[in-house]
Symmetry: C2
Subunit: 341 residues, 2 copies
């Protein structure tokens, strides 16, 4: 479809544009030592590339910038994965080798590393609920009529909620019910928990009637409240340093989007495994139509655990980001693998 020379030129244009954020002219390309053609020749090729839809002109007599299609081709065929330099690699690894024994800590750090090394915004989703199961359920009395309900999952995630205990229920009764729940429910995946509660444990606890009903409510509340605990972000303000976000209005819509956890979850859910690149309008949300989102899933034994991603301008250093995500997703998988063995 494209000649070697066209590919070369497209490649150079995109590389340069990623660095400079300004339209690239034929002269500047011609001057590069690795390009042996005159500006005129380059111009001809550029005109062709534009006709094919790989390049765009902001206006006549400006240089060319890559189009979405151009970026797409670049990502699919041209990009050289930046061989992450030794130093960076060590940096990444060192972050993970310290005593990092809590899952959320690992995830948080991953987000930080990503945003620090790329200067874009990083988004990390923790493991999906359906792979986690209940490890322990407990009530800790606080005062006369309050207690803390604590749920521990096999991933080491702890969810807690302070609840008020109905007057007519004694602490002892409560504790007894909790014991039964523990006996029956440990090991059950969180998503199936509710169903299991009603079906199996229901009969067993039948005689506890009222109390049981309340406890269910508590468990339910606790489970419902942790939906947003699993999105981590870092470097949200990095966006502001990019020249494409000089306009405050764009910044606002973008930052507002990032604050809406449900939207983020939705964007990240149902992503195919492996590395995905969504360029500009390929993204469903309008607010990021001039952004690119690169995501990588991390998984253990074939099971997808979660997703890490980088959000930056369409003019993004794809090579670097992709290779970084690749490394990091694998490292995370190894590290998190512990919890799932």
């Amino acid at each position: 479809m494209l000649s070697d020379r066209q590919r070369m030129i497209l490649n150079v244009i995109i590389d340069d544009y990623i660095r400079s954020a300004e339209p690239i002219g034929s002269r500047s390309i011609s001057k590069r030592s690795d390009v042996g053609y005159s500006p005129a020749t380059i111009r001809n090729e550029m005109a062709d590339l534009e006709e094919l839809g790989f390049l765009e002109q902001p206006h006549t007599s400006a240089g060319r910038i890559p189009s979405i299609k151009g970026y797409r081709y670049y990502v699919d065929h041209l990009v050289k994965l930046g061989e992450v330099n030794e130093q960076d690699l060590l940096f990444v690894r060192s972050f993970f080798t310290e005593k990092m024994n809590q899952m959320e800590q690992i995830i948080q750090h991953a987000a930080m590393i990503l945003s620090n090394m790329t200067n874009y915004t990083s988004i990390v989703l923790g493991p999906e609920t359906f792979t986690t199961s209940l490890k322990h359920f407990q009530l800790v009395p606080l005062g006369e009529d309050t207690a803390v309900a604590i749920i521990v999952t096999n991933t080491g995630h702890v969810e807690n909620r302070t609840i008020s205990i109905p007057q007519e229920m004694s602490m002892d009764e409560m504790q007894q019910a909790v014991n039964i729940l523990n006996a029956k429910l440990i090991g059950v995946p969180l998503v199936r928990l509710k169903a299991k509660l009603y079906s199996e444990v229901g009969q067993e606890l039948g005689r506890y009637a009222d109390q049981f009903e309340r406890l269910l409510g508590i468990l339910d509340q606790t489970l419902a409240s942790d939906n947003d605990h699993r999105v981590f972000m870092s470097g949200t303000t990095n966006m502001l340093t990019q020249p494409e976000f000089k306009d405050v209005d764009k910044v606002k819509t973008l930052l507002d989007l990032l604050e809406e956890t449900p939207t983020i979850m939705q964007m990240f859910s149902a992503l195919p495994s492996g590395i995905q690149v969504r360029i500009g309008t390929e993204n469903t949300h309008e607010a990021i139509n001039n952004c690119s989102l690169i995501t990588a899933t991390y998984s253990v034994e074939g099971k997808s655990l979660g997703t890490i991603g980088i959000l930056g301008p369409t003019r993004m250093d794809y090579g670097k980001v992709i290779s970084l995500l690749d490394i990091l997703s694998k490292d995370m998988a190894v590290l998190l693998g512990r919890w799932y063995k």
Copy 2:
């Protein structure tokens, strides 16, 4: 120091400027129905006020804007506390009357209400650690060599951390040690916990030697890790809608500041009780030298629990914000009072 008329004029200028964000001229003041003077008279007074340092002129032939000193005078002597209208009051209260039984939930909501109602950025600090004490300490085994350490405080706050258990220590031994710790340490304020650990419990657990040392480390880790859990923010992007933040650079320095939890903590710590207003350069941090920070502490039985605050441009609706903070801090005190009775 100031004549009645000067005060009136200063008041009008600041009120108008807060609304319009644009320099106020003599004509526009004169035209107001409640001002019976001609522009010329107003001009004379304005010139005097400027000489006294209450007003500033961005440039000759522009209107006047309040100076820091002007705002200060306004806040100290002129501001009419916006009598929060019935509807808003109900709105605030309704937010709190629902089943809101977890401390962090209350605080989070308070931050949300504040930012929603003011369109500025709200910052809320949860109760200081020294008023909270240990309620419960527990280990939940996860796998062969890992466990979750859970600390519950009397405020209903739960702190947790996944830890790895040294090979040479059996779960039973561990559990035994935990039991002793619980027996000895419940009720001890968190800040004194560490000292108490070494002094009192040390001897008791002497024979557990090694294990004890490890457990200490665990408790220590857990306590050290929750320093930033207590700052809540809402409406950070509201800043962007203010005309004084058209400039992306200012926005960035500001948002960066807000992301540094330690700095925020530092800013809020050691604030005198009651309502405080820090205008412009009265703030220590340069990044908010064109902002005003209004804070209110909330306390139960004379003990200060925490702080709620609003960060906005110096051109801020002081009357509204102050009265809102007043109401909210009192409501929060009542609500949180439960935990401390």
